[in-house]
Symmetry: D2
Subunit: 433 residues, 4 copies
Amino acid sequence: MNLLQQYCETRRVTEGLCRPLEIEDYGLQCMDDVSPPKWHLAHTTWFFETFVLRPELPAYRIFHSRFHELFNSYYLTAGAPLSRSRRGRLSRPTVAEIYAYRRHVDEAMRTLLGDDPQAVSPQAAGVVELGIHHEQQHQELLLMDIKYNFWCNPLRPTYLEPRSASADHSVTVSAPGWVGFASGIREIGDRGERFAFDNEKPRHLQHLESYSLADRPVTCGEFLEFIEAGGYGRPELWLSDGWDAVSRLGWNAPLYWELEGGEWRQYTLREGMRRMDEAEPVCHISYFEADAFARWSGKRLPTEGEWETAANSVVKEEGDVMVGANFLESGELHPRSLNRASGGAASRPGLQKLFGDVWEWTQSAYSAYPGYSPLQGTLGEYNGKFMNNNLVLRGGACVTPGSHLRVSYRNFYRPDSRWHFSGVRLCRNGKNE
Amino acid sequence: MNLLQQYCETRRVTEGLCRPLEIEDYGLQCMDDVSPPKWHLAHTTWFFETFVLRPELPAYRIFHSRFHELFNSYYLTAGAPLSRSRRGRLSRPTVAEIYAYRRHVDEAMRTLLGDDPQAVSPQAAGVVELGIHHEQQHQELLLMDIKYNFWCNPLRPTYLEPRSASADHSVTVSAPGWVGFASGIREIGDRGERFAFDNEKPRHLQHLESYSLADRPVTCGEFLEFIEAGGYGRPELWLSDGWDAVSRLGWNAPLYWELEGGEWRQYTLREGMRRMDEAEPVCHISYFEADAFARWSGKRLPTEGEWETAANSVVKEEGDVMVGANFLESGELHPRSLNRASGGAASRPGLQKLFGDVWEWTQSAYSAYPGYSPLQGTLGEYNGKFMNNNLVLRGGACVTPGSHLRVSYRNFYRPDSRWHFSGVRLCRNGKNE
Amino acid sequence: MNLLQQYCETRRVTEGLCRPLEIEDYGLQCMDDVSPPKWHLAHTTWFFETFVLRPELPAYRIFHSRFHELFNSYYLTAGAPLSRSRRGRLSRPTVAEIYAYRRHVDEAMRTLLGDDPQAVSPQAAGVVELGIHHEQQHQELLLMDIKYNFWCNPLRPTYLEPRSASADHSVTVSAPGWVGFASGIREIGDRGERFAFDNEKPRHLQHLESYSLADRPVTCGEFLEFIEAGGYGRPELWLSDGWDAVSRLGWNAPLYWELEGGEWRQYTLREGMRRMDEAEPVCHISYFEADAFARWSGKRLPTEGEWETAANSVVKEEGDVMVGANFLESGELHPRSLNRASGGAASRPGLQKLFGDVWEWTQSAYSAYPGYSPLQGTLGEYNGKFMNNNLVLRGGACVTPGSHLRVSYRNFYRPDSRWHFSGVRLCRNGKNE
Amino acid sequence: MNLLQQYCETRRVTEGLCRPLEIEDYGLQCMDDVSPPKWHLAHTTWFFETFVLRPELPAYRIFHSRFHELFNSYYLTAGAPLSRSRRGRLSRPTVAEIYAYRRHVDEAMRTLLGDDPQAVSPQAAGVVELGIHHEQQHQELLLMDIKYNFWCNPLRPTYLEPRSASADHSVTVSAPGWVGFASGIREIGDRGERFAFDNEKPRHLQHLESYSLADRPVTCGEFLEFIEAGGYGRPELWLSDGWDAVSRLGWNAPLYWELEGGEWRQYTLREGMRRMDEAEPVCHISYFEADAFARWSGKRLPTEGEWETAANSVVKEEGDVMVGANFLESGELHPRSLNRASGGAASRPGLQKLFGDVWEWTQSAYSAYPGYSPLQGTLGEYNGKFMNNNLVLRGGACVTPGSHLRVSYRNFYRPDSRWHFSGVRLCRNGKNE
């Protein structure tokens, strides 16, 4: 696909994700971390307008003089944006006007990119590519946010009709195996094969001690054992801030889990509230919960270097990450049970579900790689300014576009946040399998 | 009008107020005190369903089993309502479903009330009448809330097209005159001529010292003098809590006023932001501001007994309150300038604008009249449970249905709240005019 | 006693109240409403320095140039005071320095007042008298604050050694009788016999309907019945804000009550934690609790006019209020059980314990009497600026100096505050006894 | 020194730090992060009582049954401690009682350790050593907390009398030089020469790219340039959370700096408020400020591996760190100006002031070293549970006991905290000097 085709395809997918929504759903913001769907549609458009069309297309006519202020997210050097917590206050512009804004920008982008691939400078093409990946990030956010918003409604509406038969709850999952890795100097970071964010660069060396990684993520059934062993009530299992969060927020299970008549149920995008499936990877847990679970298990979380080294061992070409994996493209929108057959590199016996299904928390603080330099200008705010109090997650989830993922991809969240599709894979010292 | 006609007319007016809204506007809740328009439409309907149809119409079929929980406001004895601050989280039921709910209840009400006026017990008729007045209260709330929600949007949309020519800013208003009242025993409270809320009863005696009331409300121009005299910066003019509010909230003018290039502008429902008119009654001020202004003027606020005694002197029959007054029915949705001609009892030279235009703060805490008894059962929560930290306002405003108002009508708000259409009329001790 | 003697006596009493304290206790401030004992000692002294010595004694030398800022309470027109919540941050000046400050001011006061009673202007004498009553208010606050501070310490130290034998828990108290009062015009407010605060003035007329007042306050035993009947869990018994307070603060009993092994215990100044005595007047309840209890009892709280009219019926001269009553002077520092013999006007069979023991909540909002005018100048901030969201309490408590009390005395607190010694006496409509 | 001597010496130093305090100062807690001096005295004692005497000395008699609850800091597995923010509420036990507690425990420790060094198990000796280092940490905290508490008092008392002549403000400091380090595998972590905390272990390999470190910390004068260049007003210089902190807390200079009549002044322990000395290392800045300053300078903060590698290049034996350095032992209690002569390894021309004066922020998140395992049992809570949202600081400060410091020592604080003596040393990529 050329750049215009990629652009159009990405824009098409975003709008497809909004198709099941009622107009009323487009404006919802049920917590500060969440943005209304309408805002995602507009903000991703504003990105192309601001960073591509205004500098690159002289004939471009701004769609609306105030959208700059409304749909800027956090680029403070580009002007004072609307405070994040107020995004849900915008009943106007209407949904129809937002779609008109998208049409207007799409048309201009087609003008810019269409005629002659050579007409666009490499730098401009780079920003377009960045904008495409930016919009893919918002595709995932759209689904995360819709799930959270809908769950807040006591009626618990479903986003889409269920697709497949319900889980087979009779099967049990056997204990995880361990895949060992020797100590030594390893290379991590951007492989240079395709687009990568600034925070994945530069590729660099890291010394690792020997370690072993579980061959699959932790399941809901295993996490239930932690709950039933009183894990949420034992301070010695938790980081100090984690214990504060448990006490303050009253956590007693992952987000979206609810105990109803002695049975654990969970909220899903396709089936609303339904029985929890013990064979699924546990999902929607905070770093604190992942860390406490690991401590309770006598294990630990991997570092991102360990995770990436393991991933490098199974992925020959970047395209491998998608083979057989449960990404957004599968349309399932929920982690796939370990009982369901799957194939391909991502699920080879050695390291199942390394990609897709759930993001895996690492113990690595999100910080700059040695030699890191942020993008120039306003886009320099893209990644670097979040480098404190975030932990790295790896591997993508069932709501991540597979074409967006890479081995070196670094996602990051606060240790107490849970509305992303996050799970955990255990690690331990030493290579003895 | 018989009861059914009154019912239908009230329902029609409510929906008319929503006609200018986009679907996106129906779900907005920009502060906790505000409810989304959709919620007002549903809650007033829930009132009839819960307190009339369920007990009175055996064949009545509940529209939706969960609406009880979603659209109950604060009747705790009727079950745990959705927390007030979460009303804006309900994208579902959709606007169309809410209107269907209204149709469903309207039809049942027509069945109940229609055939034979005698078929309904006096007690049931009383609850229907209460429900009608309840819905009229929500008509005013709808406009208050829409105004606040729209003002929060940086685009400052207007609710309706402007109707009349802009104000004539060249005219000045002369100083207020004073109308004197002798000391003695006065009767205040429900006159018994028409429907009244429990909190207006029983009619009772009160001893008043002699006093004089200004013959018109304070104008924007007069309030501007207070601002320019540094009124917002002089603690000795304020109640202790008022000074806290000024400091904490950064007040420096009434709500909806903004200084732009040296000119004061204000947000209005029909014209959006427009130049402030000095001849208009000042509006959207808190009790604290009304009280500070009065102290700065060397005057005071009237008690509600004083206000009502004055009103009794001009209103022979309750119907008089509407004559010539600027209520919701006028469609102006903003206080009318003192320069504009007006007639009728409510604006007789002696006491102009006693009714309509702006609610007038009194210095009276909202509390029970001697011998007060609340309604029976769940409806007992209607008024009595708010009898602390609220102050009484009298006379109705330009967004109050005139047919809803009475001489004895007691409105009440927190001393720091400002989104209602509240103004101030001065009072002083002694009868010497 | 002449003015100097009164001054010296008041100062002596204040310091006597601090005698049982350790130096470490003088700086404690365990909630914002509470002030450290040291601060009370200094602030009452600052009052005389600021409002008497500086204007009246030309030779007076300021003790410390910064004390003005540290020990001003809330007289904003006298300069920016230290924020209330920071009073506990002042380890310096030390306790010894504060006592030196008192000595310094006492000496100057002796110079001013001593030689010749005529030497002081009537206005200055009035301010000294105000200062004496101000210091008496702080004597009560000292004990309230010490009790609260000590109770916050897990060790629960006692303030003084116990004095009397423990309560006789075997006796039961019979149901209250009712004393009826006819309707009519009554006079309330300052009788003009002795000093009174501005807020008790002017004496004025009030029309009352007939009513009956309980002949004694509600007991702990009766309040326990309310608790055991689930009173703290029934929203229909509470004002809306009261129910919020119950939910937010987790109230399930009066302040200082604790359930220990099935037995209710309460914290007292003289005995620390000890068994609750059912025959004592219930104490340390908020307005919300008093109001909910009254509603549960099918009764109501009296208005302050009703209370004062009843008090006028038993008090011929102001001095009567102290006869046989349990005020600070008794040194008991806790409400006296109804089982213990007592005599005098205040405990005549008709209306027991109207004065002393516990302050009695009225349903009257604290507001200006008709014709009220505050003191001139900075002292005008003394009373008037608290006239919103406070309710009036009457009659004084076991920590109030009896010489400070009057029939017309108006105490006031927020409806959710409980650290004062507040109880409740029931009232009902109609005179039938 | 044998263990008992070390114990006694440490206890003596702690009490010496409290000697200048008034009894009133011992109970102060002016923010949640701060503990009252009294509490430090008791808590360090509780540590020996709980972890040494109770398990090791059978005859030991607990001093007070409730002290366990009062003076436990955060060892949740040792029972529910008093909430941190309430430490300032304890007027009792008195200061005298706390000192008696110290005497009691000291005597028992003398019994335990005194007679025969062999009598104590190596494990017990390890815990005693831990307790000594724990108390040394609290020596630094004592001074940090006293400084903060005193600064909160508008009178700004000084802790000790000034010792030396005031700074010579006429000298200027020349630009820093750069010391280069080649890339390669380096060893960091506990050298095994003396006591070390669990978080410094195990010693392990790290791959470093080449880098250069400034030969001295940033000065107040340099930081002033940042201020004057508008650094606190330029969002692009700040981490996202840092910008939030600047906006929310109104930062415009380091903690303890105040602009007075156009001159910057700063609060110090020995001289109270005094003129800021541009030649001193800047102190009391947050991570966010250190990071923003580095970005503005076109440099970056070092990682802790880079810092330690540099330190390893100058420190042959651990004892070297103290030579000529400004630690607690110097008694200056303030960073020493760069203009003042100093000698020794720590201030060799290459890398001045690497130890002592100010803690130096690194860009490294505080996390576990590869192979880290926490202490066993309750002491496992000592370090590990704070491994999120803290950044590592290195090198010790003028209030750190020099005997407590090591090359591998890892201090850590939240990125927004400033009451520790923290400064910044710049780093840059590449070895070219």
